[in-house]
Point group: C2
Chain length 315, copies 2
């Protein structure tokens, strides 16, 4: 069980290693949305994404408790970098199982942090098999990308900072985050529940990886009907753990098309002059798609990351 103390302790633990990222606003995008948007810029975070938070919170505890001689994980990108980065901070070797289709820029960054990459086919089965092999061979401890309370508590610290910097005397009507495996969304909804209980938490999910919206409805972990989206960070399915938290603390999951994701991403690049990756644009795409629902609201949006392959842009 993750309490507010768990999140506070996570924040104290990782604070020396992370940036307290800026919260930016933009007049043009507010006009376009008809709402006041506050963007928590985790694209400026270490490794270029919020995942540094969860990776650090888990890996620092593995090292502190001497749970193993190495770290392993599987990830399509940002969690891979997060674990590689965190392992380097504590001086442990890291073995990262990555689908061969992961963006080149993310693979290079993982190697840049001194980790070893084990490539696999882009399926969950292949990724999990890869991790098992590494654990047997090296004695590494798995830091799962989302099915881990320590990772979830780490991700929650982004929302804790957003709420603190917005001002705890003020209240967001809504906070939005994207959902893939649900680690960030779980952390976002827990931090909001503890710190700003009247604020609704809403998730954005790509139409081309629409598992969470099904699971949210049925109460069971469902698979997406198909996987086909530019949002390469959001292709994974929920776990029992994240589904449980999300069903308890999240109001709604809104789906958006790749065209809507690309338009929102482009709007942020052109108007805010910041680099965000496609997965990161999903919540803004949801706000722009459902303007009536969000009209006049004060809205917090977690901008999750900026690790985009500049050689493969969708514009």
């Amino acid at each position: 069980m993750i309490s507010f103390d768990t999140i506070r302790e996570a924040h104290d633990r990782i604070r020396p290693y992370i940036h307290r990222t800026a919260v930016l606003t933009n007049h043009t995008i507010n006009d376009r949305a008809g709402a006041d948007l506050f963007f928590k810029c985790e694209n400026f975070q270490k490794i270029g994404a919020f995942k540094a938070r969860g990776g650090l919170n888990a890996v620092l505890q593995v090292a502190e408790n001497k749970e193993g001689a190495a770290i392993t994980t599987h990830s399509s990108g940002n969690h891979a970098q997060a674990v590689a980065f965190a392992a380097r901070q504590v001086g442990l070797p890291a073995y990262i199982v990555m689908p061969r289709t992961a963006p080149q820029v993310k693979k290079e960054a993982v190697r840049g942090y001194g980790a070893e990459i084990i490539e696999c086919e882009p399926t969950l089965d292949a990724r999990e098999a890869g991790v098992r092999e590494v654990m047997e061979r090296t004695g590494a401890v798995l830091v799962h990308p989302f099915d881990d309370d320590r990772v979830i508590a780490g991700q929650a610290t982004a929302t804790k900072e957003l709420l603190e910097d917005f001002g705890l005397e003020k209240t967001f009507d809504t906070i939005l985050a994207p959902v893939g495996g649900g680690g960030l969304l779980s952390g976002t909804s827990l931090a909001t529940h503890f710190m700003s209980p009247t604020t609704r938490v809403i998730a954005g999910e790509p139409e081309g990886a629409a598992d969470a919206v099904l699971s949210f409805r049925s109460g069971r972990v469902e698979k997406a009907p198909y996987i086909n989206t530019i949002a390469d960070g959001l292709m994974t399915t929920l776990s029992e753990r994240t589904l449980g938290i999300i069903r308890e603390h999240v109001t709604e999951i809104l789906t958006v098309s790749d065209a809507e994701i690309i338009a929102a991403m482009r709007l942020v690049w052109e108007r805010m002059k910041i680099v965000i990756e496609p997965s990161c644009a999903v919540p803004l795409a949801a706000v722009l798609k459902h303007k009536d629902q969000f009209a006049g609201q004060k809205i917090g949006i977690i901008l999750t990351g900026g690790n985009v392959d500049l050689g493969k842009l969708p514009f």
Copy 2:
């Protein structure tokens, strides 16, 4: 003659209309350069570029002194937006002469500020003829992109803020800015001269628009041997006015190739997660090209703008 008071007054005049933009740093880029770089992020400025400062300082004075019933200028992009934006603030019509080759995103932004665009061939002669025609037809006052003390004093305020935010008790070894017509470089070198006289000012210029380096050497306004560069904001030549200031207060002009510009631009996008336009990457390209010269220095760099056409990226 521009004094420190002129720059201070310009800053007071435009302050209500502009952003005090962030000064960012980046570990990876510092490691790459072997120096401590402080980036003044004018890509986050109103209209996406420092040009808002000079445009406002001139247009606000035109309106205050009732010098004319409209504003005109010629510009390949950012100054066009700046004048359109500034004219809207004071409620004057703006007529902007733009080369037909200017980036689409800049033309759209100019129209978005309510200005009228007059397209012309991409030569200085055609631009000046266009402006003359507008002045005769509408009685508009010209706000020249750089050959104007009010514009230069406005551009100087970016360096004034950089020096203030860096801390006036500390000293930059070098401040760098790109050079096109020389308005920004003149303002940068004047502000540095008045506020931090031991700091050297060095300019970056594209090899494919290498007029300033020639003029700096000969003391006469020279034309570039050829114009062929991705840095679309730096194609203009100096004026007598800007050459005079630059010869007095600038130490050196370093040239860089388009390949070096694109590599520096990509480094900023990938590592700082901010959008900058090619012209904006020229000073960093110069620092990375001449590492020995800048090793161990504290360096201020004016990041001039982020108005890049996302449909025409060089990666």
